[in-house]
Amino acid sequence: MTGTRWRAGARWRAGARDAALLAPSLAALALLFGGAIIGAARVSLVPLGQGPTLEAWRDLFDDPLFADAVLFTVRTALLSTALAALVALGLALAVRRRGALVRILLALPVPVPHLLVATVAVVWLAPGGLADRALGGLPVTPVRDPAGMGIVLVYVYKEAPFLLLLVLAALGRGHQESDEAAAALGLTPFQRLRWVTWPTVRSPLVVGSIVVLAFALGAFEVPLAVGPSNPPTIAEYAREATQGDLVSGQSTAAAALLLSAVASIALAAIAVRAARDPQGG
């Protein structure tokens, strides 16, 4: 009896301690991030020198261009994320036993900012770029491709190494031991992939993919450098809005960005649910 109560008390104390340990990070984020969102919402609802109005939001939903932008953004972001995850997984299986040099070279795009990767992509792949000069003509033109092929390509190049790092971190010694044990038990390579490797990498892959997807949904640097002029991505749409009418544009931009934020968070919630335990089983 007393034992149970003691354990319950201990558990409560442990819970309280964990909460206290989480508090600094969560409080800092709640303050900064919450502040930012409230600020952005205010901008979208209260244009400079006016009372509260829903005009910016109405403008947004009335604009056929914004609908184009949403569809295009979601399509390219999903495609980029899926391809990057596939490439990362393939590379991880190929290099998991390789030395440091190969891994460093593969990781090189991780610290390079997106904007620079996009710039480099233009140097190489644009019409008149290096590839064009070397090959005497391009079989396909990804830069400014109306379907967004250039955007997808740059994101895969930039994000696959990032996912690769996460996956390789999970495929550490523990995994190697289990894998060898499974081999000793006579499991085929495919069975080991399905029952040993996949459960190990699923969670980091899902968490990483959420980050990648969210980034692709919200960033404007890459589409600006290699995306088509039409349709724009949501973030580009927002940027163009601020370049138009100074006052109402700011509100429209804030509304568009908030909407994309809500969409990302909803997608992430679904993905986390689908992955059950985000830290892996």
């Binding site: 340990l21 600094p24 990070s25 440091a100 620079l116 968490v207 969210a214 973030a235």
Partner: protein
């Protein structure tokens, strides 16, 4: 092969930086020169480099301190329902940085903090902290807990446990998360512009040249990449990064 494919494109930046004239159809530059270097290092680039370095180091440090306890709790899986905490932590990553910059500017101006280094650190922290927590938590787990338990049983004081057991064991992930934190802050354009109040920061100085002047942009890009690649190489050489 794949490794070469990943790294080779970046070499074009080096050539571009030192090519005074490089137009199609030439595969090699028509003329090499230092025009890019001369322009890139005039104006406020040096000051911008210093500001960015200071802010990025400070942001990574503050993020590490704030993230450490949270990463422990999450890494050791002490929570029964970690998903909501994860979602909360990751939320800033799911929002366009442009939106955060716009949203925060007004508050910081009201508080009279805009344009100060602490304001820039705080703004960058919004994106840096989630990355740092997410990377750092992979360094904690049952193995480390067991090691610490052994140390405790052998009578090491908490401080010595931290110094001799916990830190060395977690060093690779601490290094990796510090690197990620540094990089995210170092390359952030949106909040640097929105909260900087005109203070020169490297991405802000660089961006106008991207497109308008490829040679200067490439030169500044090399300056931009130097610390990142340096830290990456040093960390991997020491064999301490989970690469």
């Amino acid at each position: 092969m794949a490794a070469l494919l990943a790294s080779a494109p970046l070499l074009a930046l080096v050539v571009r930086a030192f090519a005074d004239e490089w137009r199609a159809p030439a595969l090699v530059p028509q003329q090499l020169g230092l025009r890019g270097v001369q322009i890139a290092f005039s104006g406020s680039s040096a000051e911008a480099f210093g500001n960015s370095l200071l802010v990025a180091v400070a942001t990574a440090m503050v993020a590490l301190v704030l993230a450490w306890p949270a990463a422990r709790v999450l890494g050791e899986r002490r929570l029964r329902h970690p998903a909501p905490v994860f979602l909360l932590l990751a939320m800033p990553l799911l929002v366009p940085s442009y939106a955060v910059g716009t949203g925060l500017t007004e508050w910081f101006i009201r508080l009279g903090l805009d344009g100060t280094l602490p304001a820039l650190v705080a703004g960058h922290l919004t994106f840096v902290l989630p990355y740092v927590v997410l990377v750092l938590l992979s360094g904690f787990g049952p193995r480390l807990t067991a090691l610490e338990e052994v140390a405790r049983v052998n009578g090491l004081s908490p401080f010595r446990r931290l110094l001799w057991v916990t830190l060395p064991a977690a060093a690779p992930t601490v290094g990796a998360s510090a690197l990620i934190g540094f990089l995210v802050s170092w390359s952030d354009y949106g909040t640097s512009l929105a909260l900087g109040g005109g203070r020169p920061m490297l991405p802000v100085v660089l961006l106008p040249f991207v497109g308008a002047d490829p040679q200067v942009a490439a030169t500044l890009a090399l300056l931009f990449l130097a610390p990142a690649v340096g830290v990456l190489a040093a960390a991997t050489r020491a064999g301490r990064m989970p690469l």
